[in-house]
Amino acid sequence: MKLFKSKRSAGLMASPYIAWAIIFIVVPLCMVFYYGLTSADGGFTFDNIATIMKPGYIKALKRSIVLAIISTLVCFLLSYPLGMILASMKLKKNAYIVTLFILPMWMNFLLRTLTWMTLLEGKGVINTILEFLHLPTLNIINTNGAIVLGMVYNFLPFMILPIYNALNRIDENVINAARDLGAGTVQTFLRITLPLSMPGILSGITMVFIPALTTFAISTMLGGSKILLIGNIIEQEFTQLYDWHLGSGLSIVLMIFIILNMIIENLSDNGGNN
């Protein structure tokens, strides 16, 4: 398609987007790198980045990574069977069911997490009901479990959609062909369905793992002030301690982990194609 007559007019049309990208993406990124690599007196330093190795910080980073991995895994285990069920349904019904899973996203993310807080609190809705039924009450709020629950609840749609789309794109006759060539149900799944849905799985993992790794809102609300994730620490550096240099340095560390994650996924995706 040739929408624009010349390269120049195409460039002209793109200029607002380029300006947007420079002002809101490139400039802030440069600022993060500037603050992250300088000290308060303006001199170049790696100290801000190296701070991550200090006990409190490294512990928060490890916890963030572990909780993000668990949440991603739980999201995957919930989404894949659902995606398969939806993709195998021939009726138009599956569109409604997919919408049903996306519906909570129309509500504000903080409000949804706040709802879980009131549900899970010591004197929250769930424990009130349990008490009323004379059952032992639960201590969920302010645990790692509560944070994982919050992450899974909030990020599940980001896993379901790409997996459902990938599975839905697989031609029914490709599955039939595998059956026709002698493959049983398990072999068909392992050799055909799973590899063909891999792009969806990988983008689902990225879309859940990255926000789970960087979140601070979920851990603040459902983890109380007891459980700090790396996102909480960065937030505190900026909003409470006003140490932009350290905050930026830690952000760079987090960025490195995200880039690493994407590189690994890209490599495994290419591996599947070769």
Binding site: A177, R179, L181, G182
Partner: protein, 357 residues
Amino acid sequence: MSKDLITLEHISKSYDGQLILDDLSLSIYENSFVTLLGPSGCGKTTTLRIIGGFEKPDQGRVIFDGQDITNLAPNKRQLNTVFQKYALFTHMTIAENIAFGLKIKNKSDSYIKDKIKYALKLVNLEGFENRMPDSLSGGQQQRIAIARAIVNEPKVLLLDEPLGALDLKMRQDMQYELKRLKDELGITFIYVTHDQEEALTMSDHIVVMNQGYIQQEGSPEKIYNEPENAFVADFIGDSNIIRSTMIRDELVEILGAKFACVDKGFGENKPVDVVIRPEDVELVAPDAGTINGVVTGLTFKGVHYEMDVEANGYEWLVHSTKLSEVGSNVGIKIDPFNIQIMNVPASEDEEAISETV
């Protein structure tokens, strides 16, 4: 007589309350090229899917080589399918695609390697082992789909409109290719198509279907020359189909004129349908034929001229290598042998000419 390999017994199938196949029975001989031919929605693909095991009939049985396989899963059946739009595994190389069935059966690596080589040679795509399916043209992908199926040495190959997505030239080449493959492999091909020319070119046996019923089955020559009803006559090739009256044996009144014919046994003064192929209508000098008419249309078709002739209130379709100008007066003469008499359809289903493509 050849031996029955597949027998369908009283198969019925409906989707969402709509009857697709109604009490269909069919025998397929060993080592034959059988084509299921009909317009879309006639039930031909459903029939194929029932043989392949991808659908279960609501009623009836599928017998394969003397055994009831109605409830057998597709992966347990001794037949392979070439799907519409090829259905290749896009995440595997050509060699891996072809090896798929053999690996499942735990064949040795050297056996698989030989088979891949043999199959690629058979479909004229030697050296394609390490290509990916997406890098191949439609015709090449189709050949790979065939290669992938035949390395498993099935007794029957099912082909579901395999040439539908190809352009005309490629389609014609593949028709001869498929015929050659069938002779080389010595197995049964069951081929589904809506293209009558394809069916006539390749088949030993054609099964014409419409609205879930078998309209007629037989050799291509028989189907073309002796259609049993107006649907078959209209679907296979061009034809003049005229409601007429059978005066008595060997005499039929067409558009008010009496024509000698060779058919018998339709009774006296009975309504019948008459089929006359356009190449069998002979244009002669006025009054030298049975009826007179005027040429109203003329198209050059390469091998022959196609002419419309208005005579006795009917527009005759005529194919001839001899040109008659538009507006000229002509006589129409028909050899008795070329007048095919058919019974008037008993049911509405058979008279679905207008729904054909």
